[in-house]
Amino acid sequence: MSGGGYAAQNGAGGSYTNGPSQNPVGVYSSNQGLMAPPLTGFMNSLTTKGPPPPGPNPYITGRHQPSPVAPPPSSWSGVAPPPSSYSQHPQPGVTPPPVAPPPSSYSQHPQPGVMPPPVAPPPSSYSQHPQPGVTPPPVAPPPSSYSQHPQPGIMPPPVAPPPSSYSQHPQPGVTPPPVAPPPSSYSQHPQPGVMLPPVAPPPSSWSGVTQAPVAPPPSSWSGVTPTPVAPPPRSWSGVTSTPVAPPPVGNHTGPGPYSTGTRLPPVFQNTMQPPAALQQAGLYQAQPGQMIRPPAYHSPSAPALYTQVQPSGSAAQLSPSLAAMSLQSQTPEALRVVNLLQERNILPSGAVTPPTPCLPQDLQKINCCPEVFRCTLTSIPQTQALLNKAKLPLGLLLHPFKDLSQLPVVTSSNIVRCRSCRTYINPFVTFVDARRWKCNLCHRVNDVPEEFMYNPVSRSYGAPHKRPEVQNATIEFIAPSEYMLRPPQPAVYLFVLDVSHNAVETGYLDVVCQSLLENLDSLPGDSRTKIGFITFDSTIHFYNLQEGLSQPQMLIVSDIDDVFLPSPDSLLVNLSECKELVQDLLTGLPQMFSSTMETQSGLGPALQAGFKLLSPTGGRISVFQTQLPTVGIGALKPREEPGQKAHAKEVQHLNPATDFYKKLALDCSGHHVAVDLFLLSAQYCDLSSLGCISRYSAGSVYYYPSYHRQRSPAQTERFQRDLKRYLTRKIGFEAVMRIRCTKGLSIHTFHGNFFVRSTDLLSLANVNPDAGFAVQMSIEENLLDLQAVSFQAALLYTSSKGERRIRVHTLCLPVVNSLSDIFAGADVQAITALLASMAVDRSVTASLGDARDALINAAIDSLSSYRSSVLSVQQPGLLAPACLRLLPLYILALLKHRAFRTSASTRLDERVFSMFQLKSQPLPFLMLTVHPGLYRADDLSDEGALNVSERTIPQPRALQLSVEKLSRDAAFLMDCGTVLYLWIGRNCNPVFLTQVLGVESYAAVPLNMDQLPELDTAESSRIRALIDWLRERRPFHPVLHVIRDESPLKAEFLQYLIEDLSESALSYYEFLLHLQQQICK
């Protein structure tokens, strides 16, 4: 079918695209009435006839091609961006001029430093109105309705002040240039400079506001850019694979050359845009008020629109090919039928990119960045029945506190929220008229408060829909006092260190103390920051660091059954006032216990002491533990049977052994104390029990198996780097997160580290930028009359500077009513991550075997549902839509993941740790641990390389994880998230050996090499650039192991080659056959 279908597509598509590209809306507007038809019909037509026409390509290419290439900024300022659409509808004819300014005014902001100059022109154009004019602004841009309001003419500037929050702008009259100051001043009041350091320059954030708020890490993604063109053709032509006996070429070769030949990928994608526009046009009508864009408007500006889209938002991070493709023509590509048994090269050449929801372009443009907020189905089914039929999990993956490079920050005395469901106003609300807005979650109509009528960005009055709150899906508010139950707490850090004999033996104390000493000044906090230390073995040692003492005083409490605080006031001290004492302590601490013979460990009492110490303020406890707690409350017994061979049904003790840690964690959580656990141990430590302390208090868990300072230098390096990141990363205190969704959807399960305090409220004692969350949802009421649904995650926290802030992310997704649309919008990575979390739950509540079966069934169910409900033509083989083609591979990878594998003997703690990681890591890092990246490392070239801040980073193609891909005369780099392997083939090119590794021959490669020498050769610098780049993009530090055949780590390396047959697990091809059997049964 695919062959014929595709041929037809290209032919038939001609008319299709032509229409839209020339008068996009023209064609569509006729369809408007039908609404639904465009959507569904669109899909159908795609599968059967499809749009992509070669014809119009050149035409459009001419215009659009540049856009992706063009530096975003330029296109930004040049072309009127999003807001234009709003202001235009009233009098398109009249408006052009006014339209221009706002965008420009936006684009000024990005670099606050740079601002003045760029600002100058626009403001002038802009401020002209306000000054003289009194009239022009109100009249021109905003819908006439506004001008009716109280002397609008005079108002804009003068009125502005009244809203107290903006009173900074007092004399806007003066303003021509001032435009610049206001924005900055705006975001700056709240000492932005100070606050946001990690986040981004706040002023810019302001401005960043409009355009690329979502786009933060384009660089990282754009790595994909060079190659993107290739993917579709490649995967096609990769086609013929060895394993498949049957007719490997059959339908493949058909499309293969076809696609490569006929559709020039980039061109093709661009052409695809119009259909999307259409589709959107369809959606559009649904949106009343502000969102409506008269068709007439659409066509003239269509080109402009397209060009903007590319650089903006999420599109920017996608590879152009995918961006264009998924934006525009997701359907055909995503639903392309792939016969997995025949197609071997299913990996995209670059990163796997999330699908883009089929939303109107301007909504999509401001939609929440997929790195922050992702849904497993980018098209939400209308009914639960439909969802059940699709057999795909519905859920959200969040990374709410991610470090963002641009984040708009708003200070406002009155944060506009829906009166009934308390949703924060967001870009996806609709303005019923100038004075009222309709909540997109509960559909209640709310009044727009007076202050909100004034837009501080453009300093105009009467255009609430241009406020940053309505222009940004990710925004941060500085919360007024209503959002505080008590005065914001200071940053409080307590370190609880194990100093038993075992701990001293590992030598971790030196590293911790050293890192702390180095980073004492960069601990996030302000002048109120407090710090304290507790050490413990079978007794608990407190340290009096009171100002005025000449040296730290150790207070020993040996009554661990009833812990008390010896001197409650002086154990937690102000860091800046007592820094010298703290430094003294840290320098002396490692030696203090060097000769200890105490082997017992009373972790429980020490934690209780820590909790007592912090409970009045809240804060963070960092616990370093190296052995099983043996005395006092919370003591544990070893449960792991040594040498236990894991069989599916027999992995036990995944459950905690006691509820002590859970109870304590909940107490901590109630008092805003989070506990982070660092476990450095060679023996079994019962992480499943200990981990509860972090899991329910919203902490994080770090595990360094077999840590020893001398014996495992690589581990030490990793520990050091992780510590540095841990100590200096941003932190939010006394946080809560609420996840709201449109009425009809409800969240029923949560994954991650936190305590669910009430139905949708997660209590996070601390929130850190490396924490990911996931939730599962169900559809409780049918979403029949909705075009789109929204999800909002609002994170209220106290910054380390003692400010109460609210970070709000809003994601909007379309609602669809056909199975094929649901499949087309499936996000395979998100699905995998959610399934992994669900499987972890299952293995704890039921058994590991159950969890594994459930994973396999998930793949079988969804593929068979696709086969029976979506595919019209049945053909042999294992068929999957292109967007889900990686699902079986990922499921297999999960089955071989340390958390779920049964083949290799896996230590219980490592398994439990992997499970924790699966539940609490953000998606991109999680995917790396599940499905590592494998690259050929000895022929890196600058072709298609990425340029990041003047460094050239080669972008090798990702290879399948199979021994078959390794060759003896090459070297390969494998990126497994927390560890990197550089595998050297036996006959590896000697040039590579000398130029990169600095050794003469293969035999001279050391068996445990953890670093690449810094050689001054092109090869060396290329590979080091690649490795550095890979490392920079994640918050933890992956260690590098150079390995060869004789290396002890080789077995570990081979375990990651998940496509191969292993001890008791299927190879990828066998797994596919198994799936096929089950599906066809």
Binding site: K662, V756, R757, S758, T759, D841
Partner: protein
């Protein structure tokens, strides 16, 4: 004698009805966000054992007085209570665990269970009442 047994069961049954209502009210409070999970679960866990004892008492009474039908009616509920209590994983804080109650629709299933028990106890109430009256008349 017969009458005394049923009067006692009647009293026991009333207590169980009140307990079920209390469970339902507390769970629905949690559903509506009036109390937090921690408070709700500690409240409910307190009453799990009394409920178990109350139910066991009714069952034993029926067994001793050899009312086989009512005994068999009570037995499954009593054993369910015991089973539920015994099956609590070590790491959980009781039958109602605050960290789990919002997950995997547990709240709903607890609610359903409480409802079913309420219905059951009401049924029992009328059976006891009827039997008591019958016994009093026969006396």
């Amino acid at each position: 004698m017969e009458a005394a047994v049923f009067i006692l069961s009647l009293v026991d049954c009333c207590a169980l009805i009140f307990l079920s209502v209390y469970f339902i009210i507390t769970l629905s409070d949690l559903e509506c966000d009036y109390i937090n999970a921690r408070a709700c679960c500690s409240k409910l866990n307190k009453w799990v054992i009394p409920e178990m004892i109350g139910q066991a008492l009714a069952t034993v009474l029926m067994l001793v007085s050899m009312h086989w039908f009512v005994f068999l009616l009570n037995l499954p509920v009593a054993s369910w209570n015991v089973y539920r209590y015994v099956k609590v994983p070590l790491g959980n804080m009781g039958v109602y665990d605050p960290t789990e109650i919002h997950n995997r629709g547990q709240l709903k299933s607890h609610m359903k269970e409480a409802m079913i028990k309420l219905g059951f106890h009401l049924l029992c109430f009328f059976i006891y009442l009827y039997s008591m009256i019958l016994a009093l008349i026969n006396d």
